[in-house]
Symmetry: C2
Subunit: 105 residues, 2 copies
């Protein structure tokens, strides 16, 4: 079927899937080093101590991800869900939306 | 704290949260009409029969969303997760990524 122009929501989903695949080198799972690189390069405004090994270890523990196992798309999605839910709750509480809410929270 | 430039992943999360809030008119939940509008305007390449009441009813049944109740962010996120997971599985199976994968699947 011919491809069509993506909407903003469709492009957002594409971006999240694409970044997982990049970090996983097109494999089924990514390594903890791949996740650390993704978080430090793509989520530095959202995840505290994103460039720090201790910060990454704390994040992986919080997400219940074992260091020795490959990180699946579902586990990666758990992180995205957590960040999106926090942003939703904060913006609803504030009763306002801003164009870009990138910040350390 | 000063705001910083969003990365692609952060912008993608922003977009998903923002579109929920728009459809919910900044409330805690959106109506089924709000979801129908969001799906037809933002997910027409991904959700079959997105502009059709019967297609929306089938989608809501699949997501276990009751028509009479407000649709929460978690329920909206269930739809996004389903679409992202389907795209992940398809692109992994194909062993390739394309710039825009908008299509009916």
């Amino acid at each position: 079927m011919a491809e069509k122009k993506c909407t903003e929501v469709e492009s957002a989903i594409d971006t999240l899937v694409t970044e997982f695949h990049k970090a996983a080198n097109d494999g089924a799972t990514m390594s903890s080093a791949g996740l650390a690189n993704l978080v430090s390069s793509q989520l530095s405004n959202r995840v505290k101590n994103s460039g720090d090994p201790a910060g990454m270890a704390a994040l992986m523990k919080q997400l219940n991800i074992k260091d020795s196992e490959g990180i699946t798309f579902q586990e990666f999605w758990g992180l995205i869900k957590q960040l999106a839910t926090a942003e939703h709750e904060q913006s609803y509480k504030q009763k306002k939306l801003v164009e870009c809410r990138c910040r350390l929270v």
